[in-house]
Homo-oligomer: 460 residues x 2
């Protein structure tokens, strides 16, 4: 049974028809996300139109009932978990690709479109949408926008916020707003659309997005660069980012990650490899060889053991397979994992990795670092046994250590996963009190009664 | 004499010392901008530190006195004109380049640094800051950020908003806030820094900016592509933007602009030229020839009379000289000019230019179009005689026609100049009432008493 007021139940049933669900198993299903947190919503809404979303938010505002937007729940921070109850609004039925306009390099989509489905539709036009999170095949564009998802390609093409032209959204007061325009340049009032990106459903519910697209490059080629140690690999990252040929991917693995990829993942990586860069360039038949030459030349330097292009597409695939084998391989270290996606300025990567090594030693837990080096966005994986209370406590302490270290290096808490519940209580360390107060004032401007995804992103 | 309360005068004199000016000629000097509007401020402040700015805003808030941030007054919209009186805050004494960090591709600057001075300092590091407004040599970075300035390079590198990592700013309540971080990726709370960009001093005063830099390309080469008519040039723009080699500039001139450049500017442009594209690529010795080939191939097509690379640097300079000769040449048509920088989706450029031609005929005034075609950002120049009341009225009507046309094509009022006073009253046509109300709520969150640049950007 639901605790929602009868009046609200009637209104929502009338507005949403069979898209309004109260049964226990549906509510259970929509109560989790990939953070492994869970909370039971009072109801689930599956709108098919923006008008239904407006009606829902207005009715919920009247009754001060929380509204939690949801894509497919692939986020890792608990941002989609209805910890304060209320209505989970899943956009799975709003998944139309409304328009693709190749001449304007843009597409109009509903928020429930899967990133992967969109990419397949765009391919026919020789275009793509740059954000490429690992979850692309089963995460939605709306969810990508809500947490400002990135991925390896962000080093060249930017993350979600850099690739949106306009958003239609419903604010916490039930107003339907249209932010931005179908143009790649704009200086017409306040930029509300980029503000909504990364706001994790706390300011408004996105009901339509106009995305900025990029032309698909004709081909890609990968370089495998092995280094004696993390310091020399990090110095190479800085060299790579200081020259004009921006790589289309620039991924990093520390020594432990390399060892795991070799020993568990079966990757062909010599034992003297202290750190690895996987570098990729895109272009056409004419320009790609020169781009590869430029990147190899920047990758080589003190401490570089080897920097060679993948011979062919199969070799390129094998190289990325080593990267993909990492996540499952981590489980060989311990059954539990805290995966944080901290970001530091590129020049501070060596200090971050060295500091993390010290934390691992001090807290007696394995920590493995890999990720998007071109943006300084490393995935720091703290491994522990959740069944062991002492290890659980040490993992939490180590995570706090990693955040403090990141901030001391001029970095920030998250590059592409967002804050949600997982990092919410660390926000006051990352953002000073006047700025947090300003963020709260912005939240109140969009959502005067605080019904949109309460308890997320901003600390209580 | 000033009308400011004695208490405020004492506080500001104490906080700013000789950086607080009340003399009539200083007030006169700081009362205009490049919109040719003028209004007398009650005082002028020349702060040297952020603490002075905080003290000033707090004191002005107590007395509800307007605060108008000012770079060098090159903006064209009246955004820096103190129409409601109050204190003009000129950042000319805060012009330090605080730090250049080549490894992190970023620079930290005070807001009063001239764009051109910054570019010269960055050149030594092989870097540049992408925004390149025509005013670069005498406009400030703070001013560029305030109106989201762009320029020809924006087609490849983005405008000001796309090239800022973090801002330190003073809100209308006198709070010093720190928005963003020194990283090229971030998902840590609300993106306030991009919201401040383009807000024209109505939300906060920027006191420090961390800018995202790009590596200087080794070389550039230009292509001159002549077309039979505007339609075929616009179709070429769409083709150019749909292939993977993004030009570093893609400038357009309509037939009238070409004729003026030839007849008045002395440009070597044959008389059968109905429209012109000036296309530029950047790269290195290896990649540039291929980029030029790709762009020429996309530029050619139905209606293309000629698409040839500039033979050498001198030829490239001559080509750009034709573009630069345009603004002075316009004066041969009429002594007065309204220069609007509307934006449309690239595919709608032909409809925009055709519609403008109809407006010119209907209103019996010359209108010349040229500008940044790769972003659909055209400068529409309405020529008239300000001494003739009838022409003045027709010019105003024609301007309103151009805005209505632009909006009907899915475009927006401004691409890089901003709104200020000039386009403020057209905002309700461009932005619907709920979205404008949301912008007002954001304004109130940052500036509860409405003291920051009152009367600008948002209609009363």
């Amino acid at each position: 049974m639901s605790d929602l007021p009868d009046d609200l139940l009637r209104t929502l049933a009338a507005a949403l028809g069979d898209g309004f669900r109260l049964d226990a198993d549906e509510r259970l299903t929509y109560g989790y996300d990939n953070s492994r947190r869970h909370a039971l919503p009072d109801a689930v809404a599956l709108p098919t139109t923006r008008e239904q979303v407006v009606a829902l938010v207005r009715a919920c505002r009247t009754h001060r009932v929380p509204v939690i937007a949801r894509g497919r729940g692939t986020n890792t921070t608990g941002a989609a978990v209805p910890t304060a109850g209320g209505i989970v609004v899943s956009f799975e039925r709003m998944r139309r690709i409304v328009d693709v306009r190749p001449g304007d390099r843009c597409a109009v989509v509903e928020p429930g479109v899967l990133n992967g489905d969109l990419q397949r539709a765009l391919k026919a036009h020789g275009l793509f949408w740059p954000p490429d999170p690992t979850s692309a095949d089963f995460s939605t564009v709306g969810g990508n926008l809500a947490c400002n998802a990135g991925g390896p390609r962000a080093v060249k093409y930017g993350a979600s916020r850099d690739n949106v032209l306009a958003l239609t959204a419903v604010t916490g007061s039930g107003a339907l707003i249209h932010c931005g325009s179908a143009t790649t340049k704009g200086a017409t009032g306040y930029d509300l659309q980029r503000l909504l990106v990364g706001s994790e459903g706390t300011l408004a519910l996105i009901v339509e997005a106009m995305l900025k697209l990029a032309p698909l490059p004709a081909s890609r080629r990968a370089i495998r660069a092995r280094y004696r140690d993390v310091e020399s690999a990090a110095a190479a990252v800085a060299r790579l980012m200081a020259q004009p040929t921006t790589p289309s991917m620039l991924e990093f693995m520390d020594g432990d990650a390399v060892r795991l990829a070799r020993e568990i993942g079966g990757a062909d990586l010599p034992a003297d490899t202290g750190a690895l860069l996987m570098i990729e360039a895109d272009g056409d038949a004419h320009t790609l060889p020169h781009a590869i030459d430029a990147l190899i030349s920047a990758a080589r330097g003190d401490g570089c053991l080897e920097a060679l292009p993948a011979a062919d597409e199969a070799a390129r695939e094998r190289l990325w397979a080593a990267r993909k084998a990492l996540s499952p391989a981590l489980r060989s270290l311990a059954p539990g994992k805290i995966n944080e996606d901290v970001v530091v300025p590129v020049s501070r990567i060596p200090a971050l990795v060295a500091g993390v090594r010290t934390i691992a030693r001090d807290r007696a837990l394995p920590i493995v670092c890999f990720g998007h080096a071109g943006n300084g966005n490393l995935h720091v994986n703290l491994m522990y046994d959740p069944a062991d209370a002492d290890q659980r406590a040490r993992a939490q302490t180590a995570m706090a250590d990693v955040f403090a270290l990141t901030l001391s290096l001029g970095g920030t808490l998250s590059g592409e996963h967002g804050i949600g519940l997982a990092k919410r209580d660390f926000m006051p360390q990352a953002i000073d009190a006047p700025t947090l107060a300003m963020m709260r004032a912005v939240k109140t401007a969009f959502d005067p009664d605080g019904i949109l995804n309460p308890g997320k992103l901003l600390p209580p």
